[in-house]
Symmetry: C2
């Protein structure tokens, strides 16, 4: 749980890690590391071809979010994923590596959630931004919601040597950029630059407030306040 970088033994295994694949998937060619071909084969496969790896990431992400990263042990994860302990350590060098991978995976999941939820709302919503707030409302109202997983991870991984917080900062930058893009659709680049930080702060506050008090009215308050701010920054609008 501490002390980066990993020990040499772990790093050695990490070198071999990409070669491993599920014997159950049946769709993979056998790999011989002595051939040139194997090099080309395993490189693209490293990411996702193992079912065990997927189950581990899925389970870890879910448990980490629901109960807390520190509160969930390796044994819980492998039990619920139905995987042997050695399989976990074959795919991830340490619990910390698993945490990082789970965070990266969650970013994809969150992005996909917003993409699909916004598309669902896009027909009735008057703008992408309003579709976003409708999607946010869905998110806050979901039964499992427990705040922003990334902000939570930042708090839980307080050890300054842990790479988690750096990842979280990167994610938040990417998310803020995404949000700014939606505002730009409505009021243009220049005006959006002025209000985007405040809107991002409202969204951030909505996530926390909903984690504390529940979803009641939270998304609507954030949306309405954002619209007021955006209207005030509109180049054509008066004041």
């Amino acid at each position: 749980m501490s002390g980066y970088p990993a020990r040499s033994a772990l790093r050695l295994r990490a070198k071999w890690l990409p070669l491993k694949h599920s014997a159950r998937t049946g769709s993979l060619a056998r790999i011989d590391i002595h051939t040139e071909r194997s090099i080309h084969l395993f490189v693209p496969r490293t990411k996702s071809n193992s079912q065990a790896r997927e189950r581990l990431l899925d389970t870890a992400d879910r448990l980490f979010y629901r109960e807390g990263i520190r509160a969930v042990g390796i044994d819980r994860i492998i039990a619920e994923a139905g995987v042997a302990k050695m399989t976990l350590y074959a795919h991830f060098a340490s619990k910390d590596a698993l945490i990082l991978a789970a965070l990266a995976r969650r970013e994809e999941v969150v992005l996909e959630f917003f993409r699909s939820a916004m598309e669902k709302h896009r027909k009735r919503a008057k703008s992408s931004l309003l579709a976003f707030f409708a999607a946010l409302k869905d998110l806050l109202g979901s039964a499992e919601f427990r705040g922003c997983a990334f902000a939570n991870a930042l708090i839980e991984l307080a050890d300054p040597s842990h790479p988690g917080p750096a990842f979280v900062r990167g994610y938040k930058r990417r998310f803020a950029k995404f949000l700014r893009g939606l505002i730009e659709e409505s009021i243009g680049k220049e005006a959006a630059a002025k209000v985007a930080p405040a809107v991002a702060m409202l969204v951030e506050g909505a996530l926390v407030t909903s984690a504390i008090h529940g979803p009641q009215n939270v998304a609507d308050v954030a949306r309405d306040a954002s619209l007021v701010l955006i209207r005030g920054a509109q180049p054509t609008a008066s004041h």
Copy 2:
């Protein structure tokens, strides 16, 4: 052995703090609470007169906030507080009880911080609300700042049986009420009720954003956005 002095202390304290392990010590002989002396000795001590208790609360609060509640063990706390382990368990029934007491103490500290910082800024600020945002800026800029201790505790204490989250919700309600009072000073009760939730959300977002990215501009953005919202809700102001 005659006496069991330590145990009699525990038994007496059980009157104030519900002791989890009281079942084990239940077979103790009654203490002679009848003598004037014993009453006089322990009564004023129990509540707040103990230096050890204060040091424990102070140390626990500081370490919990800086490194996380789960990351800091009892041994660290007693070592840095310079007290024996039994002294801790004489004053607090469990680590959870210590956590709760530290949270309650932090509420007092936070309140006192805002009171004094706002007083400091009150001379130059045009309103209590602006003094509040100046104080908030001080808070976010402090070297030790690591987000809202209560929100962090809520996340760390994910176990639904833990009393921490309920305390946090109460604190947040009290804080929101305090903030609403400041807004009422500016625009009256009715208008304040409309914007207070959004302003509280901005403040909440400012706390998180600063924990993630640092204090750069954060308090100012929250303040300016709040002023825009408040101006928009002003009963006399038109648009």
